[in-house]
């Protein structure tokens, strides 16, 4: 039904897809597996018409196609259900299902016709209890998923792509999702299913394609019979020329951070660990395992129960207080959460320690510029002009500016959430070196990364998270990618 051959997609600095093949048959659930950064998301976006491939061919029902935009992809019969559901909460179920192709005559929406059609689609999905007139914001996550699927069906989709559809669902809701998927495939619809959970893939999947480094490493493996070890070894051993700096020879110093029984409803529970001065502790886990949420809770940016002790003193859950006491966070979404894009590199660097540059509120701009200049040089931020707006810098250099912010003042603990996201390979090595050097200077570092090799290569100690709980803690040197991946996908502790 769908045949993709040799798909290549090049982004500045990264070859996201480097020759991907995919065959999907009508009526099957085809699972796409691969680690973060393997190219799954880019591949989906090519099918959804968001990205156009640089090379390669796509055939659909024997015809060469080239989705040039989201609308084009929908016309071809491709529907994508993203991880973050893209529904409008304030509108009714019907309005969401038919958003963009309303039942209308002369611009007037015909509610009755729309509701009738929606009811039919929902019945087909086995959910007659969802009323077409309900506001979507009032529905449960599972019901929203059904609405998303109803939208896909309303377009007469022949191929539905689901990106981690189970991530936001409870157990029984997942069972229901699978029932719907089976009904759809029974009607000849093909489903491309992306998930990190192997047990799900075994249950719902027919065949598996594995991606690694933007390439297809296995096509059409039987989902039920392929041994786990084979799948994991196909995904691992990524051929990435990451250069990790050598670990420190010295013993880590005093305990900088101790976390006791930290919990946050719906995200993680009963997490305890500690970070010592000069030590990098890595948190490994899937999206939704609670890794970023733990950082936010430690930082005081998310309500949590339990104790957070910084250098022997228990701290309150307050970002302002924690920053004053020597914490710093480089958040996951660099542009949305860390940077003032219009402002200069200098203003971004000094944002976290403004009182240190001021006497009675009066800024010492000369000293501010001098410090920014020094850090720009020390971290090799390019171009080396701290007066430039930070938005004109590349991702890696923006990240360095965020790190530089926390090099000012006396920091004891740095929380780094996906520090190399969107950073090209060359700049990654530099960032790794910077992070290691920070630790060598006696700062405790708590690192979150969705890339297992990064956690293993950079951290001294690793905590493995699964569904909001720590399932393993150990020396990074005693773990390998294979083992960690097995733990986070199958829930088996080593």
């Amino acid at each position: 039904m769908l045949v993709m051959r040799g798909i290549v997609k090049q982004f500045p600095g990264v070859r996201a897809l480097d020759g991907v093949d995919l065959d999907v048959r009508a009526g099957e659930v085809h699972c796409l597996l691969g680690q973060n950064g393997a190219g799954k998301s880019t591949l989906i976006k090519v099918l959804a018409g968001v990205h156009q491939p640089d090379e390669g061919t796509i055939e659909f029902n024997g015809q060469r196609v080239r989705p040039s935009g989201p609308n084009d992809a929908i016309k071809l019969g491709f529907a994508t259900i993203y991880q973050e559901l893209d529904l409008v909460d304030g509108l009714s179920v019907t309005d969401n299902v038919y958003l963009g192709h309303e039942h209308a005559r002369f611009g007037f929406v015909s509610r009755a016709a729309g509701n009738r059609a929606t009811r039919q689609v929902l019945e087909r999905l086995g959910h007659p209890e969802i009323r077409p007139t309900t506001e979507v914001g009032r529905l449960s996550p599972a019901a929203k998923q059904v609405v998303s699927m109803a939208r896909a069906l309303s377009h007469d989709a022949r191929l539905i792509i689901m990106d981690e559809p189970s991530a936001a669902l409870a157990h029984d809701e997942v069972a229901n999702l699978f029932r719907i998927i089976r009904e759809l495939t029974g009607q000849g619809v093909a489903v491309v299913y992306i998930s990190h959970r192997l047990e799900e893939i075994r249950e719902i999947g027919d065949r598996v394609t594995v991606l690694k480094d933007g390439r297809t490493v296995a096509v059409g493996l039987p989902a039920r019979d392929t041994p786990t070890s084979q799948i994991v070894s196909l995904m691992t051993g990524r051929n990435v020329e990451y250069v990790f700096p050598p670990r420190s020879e010295r013993e880590p110093g005093e305990e900088v951070l101790r976390v006791e029984g930290l919990g946050s409803p719906g995200a993680f529970r009963d997490v305890s660990f500690s970070v010592r001065a000069g030590e990098i502790v890595g948190l490994a886990g899937l999206v939704g395992s609670g890794r970023s949420e733990i950082l936010e809770a430690v930082y005081g940016a998310r309500p949590a129960t339990g104790r957070v002790v910084l250098s022997g003193k228990q701290v309150r859950h307050s970002v302002v207080g924690n920053v004053r006491r020597g914490m710093g966070l480089a958040p996951e979404e660099r542009k949305a959460q860390a940077l003032l894009l219009d402002q200069s590199v200098t203003a971004n660097i000094t944002l976290g320690s403004l009182p240190g540059f001021a006497t009675f509120g009066w800024l010492d701009r000369t000293r501010e510029r001098a410090e920014a200049q020094r850090l720009t040089k020390a971290l090799d931020i390019r171009p080396p002009d701290p007066e430039r707006p930070v938005k004109t810098l590349s991702g890696g250099n923006q990240q360095k500016a965020v790190l530089a912010r926390w090099l000012l003042g006396s920091r004891k603990l740095l929380l780094l959430d996906e520090p190399t996201r969107g950073v090209d390979v060359g700049a990654r090595a530099e960032l790794y070196a910077v992070i290691r050097e920070l630790a060598d200077r006696g700062i405790g570092v708590l690192l979150v990364s969705s890339e297992v090799p990064e956690v293993l290569g950079l951290a001294d100690r690793v905590l493995v998270l699964r569904e909001g709980a720590v399932i393993h803690e150990g020396d990074a040197r005693e773990l390998d990618e294979h083992l960690v991946l097995d733990m986070i996908m199958n829930g088996r502790a080593a």
Binding site: A338, L351, R441
Partner: protein, 341 residues
């Protein structure tokens, strides 16, 4: 910290060469590129004035009257600039000014003399602004709604206190009125007050942590919060500052009109916001300048002046102002695009 790795020529888009920076001009911080258009507009209006009313326009008394006219709203505009750069909006400025003028001119307040009257106006203004700030920052009300409520309520309170009557400043308190009658170098004192507020506002915005935080809170509140800035407290202070400016403006309008009245400052909020927008401040926050706002205000005041001098209809004046707002914003959008990378 030493250089962690050698610079790599092949590491992607980091190697952009920065153009040589022009020599630091002392005026660079004051007059930015975006202000050139405003200065040109002012120059054009001056030319129009010189051509249409060559004798009446370029007189000292006319220039003084332009500045006196601009002074009251000008002080308010300084406060409004802070609020808008900080990502908010304050619709209640005119009403707060009216309330402060009424409160300061009640019989009870007037008994204590001009100094207490001035302090009273400032305290009332700051207090009302603080209420706005508390509602917005800690009560989590949308700024538009909180200050709209204050607009209505402060006007009502002013009417109730004054019994809808205009309150004259008594002869013993004429020291307040002297702000507009006493001239130094031919310019009334209230224009100096205006200039002082602008200067202090500029310093606060450009040279202090408060100003830097204002840009941060307006530009990216989440980033500001995660960088350890107390965003709520800062938001509250911004509205209090706006209220403070309204209190100062109340003193100026009392000086100019010799009265306190619940009708003072009607629609000032719109003039102030318009001036800020024409001056290049983004309504979404995070970007803007005091100088731009003041230039925007001068454009507005010049138009009013030219219409009056030429005996033209005030309705046409409003139409002209509306057009100017649209044109100014369209021009700025083009500038923004050109500057984007």
């Amino acid at each position: 910290m030493s250089d962690p790795t050698k610079p790599r020529a092949d590491s992607g888009p980091v190697g952009t060469v920065s153009p040589p920076r022009p020599a630091r001009n002392p005026l660079r911080g004051l007059i930015e590129g975006g202000h050139v258009g405003l200065l040109v507009a002012i120059a054009l209006l001056v030319v129009v004035g010189l051509v249409t009313r060559p004798t009446a326009f370029a007189t000292t008394s006319n220039l003084v009257s332009i500045l006196s006219l601009a002074a009251t709203i000008g002080v308010i505009t300084v406060g409004a600039t802070f609020v808008i750069i900080g990502g908010g909006i304050d619709l209640s400025v005119g009403a707060i000014m009216a309330l402060a003028s009424v409160w300061a001119t009640t019989v009870a307040t007037q008994e204590f003399g001009p100094v207490v009257m001035a302090i009273c106006a400032i305290l009332v203004g700051t207090g009302a602004g603080l209420v706005n700030g508390l509602l917005i920052a800690y009560g989590r009300l949308v700024p538009f709604i909180a200050t709209l409520a204050m607009l209505v309520a402060a006007r009502g309170l002013a009417q109730r206190m004054s019994d809808r009557k205009t309150q004259l400043i008594q002869a013993d308190n004429s020291a307040i009125v002297e702000l507009s009658t006493t001239r130094v170098l031919g310019v009334p004192l209230l224009v100096y007050v205006f200039a002082l507020v602008v200067a202090l506002g500029w310093v606060l915005l450009n040279r202090t942590t408060f100003g830097r935080r204002t840009y941060a809170v307006g530009g990216n509140p989440e980033a500001a919060r995660l960088a350890g800035i107390d965003v709520r407290r800062h938001t509250m202070l911004l509205y209090a500052l706006s209220g403070l400016c309204c209190g100062i403006a109340a003193i100026l309008i009392m000086a100019r009109t010799t009265t306190g009245s619940s009708t003072h400052g009607d629609l000032y909020e719109l003039d102030a916001i318009a001036a800020v927008i024409i001056g290049g401040t983004l309504l979404t926050g995070g970007r803007g300048t005091i100088i731009g706002s003041i230039l925007g205000l001068l454009i507005f005041t010049l138009i009013t002046n030219l219409f009056i001098l030429n005996g033209l209809n005030t309705s046409d004046q409003l139409i002209a102002k509306g057009l100017i707002i649209v044109v100014a914003v369209l021009l700025q959008r083009r500038n923004l695009k050109e500057r984007a990378p």
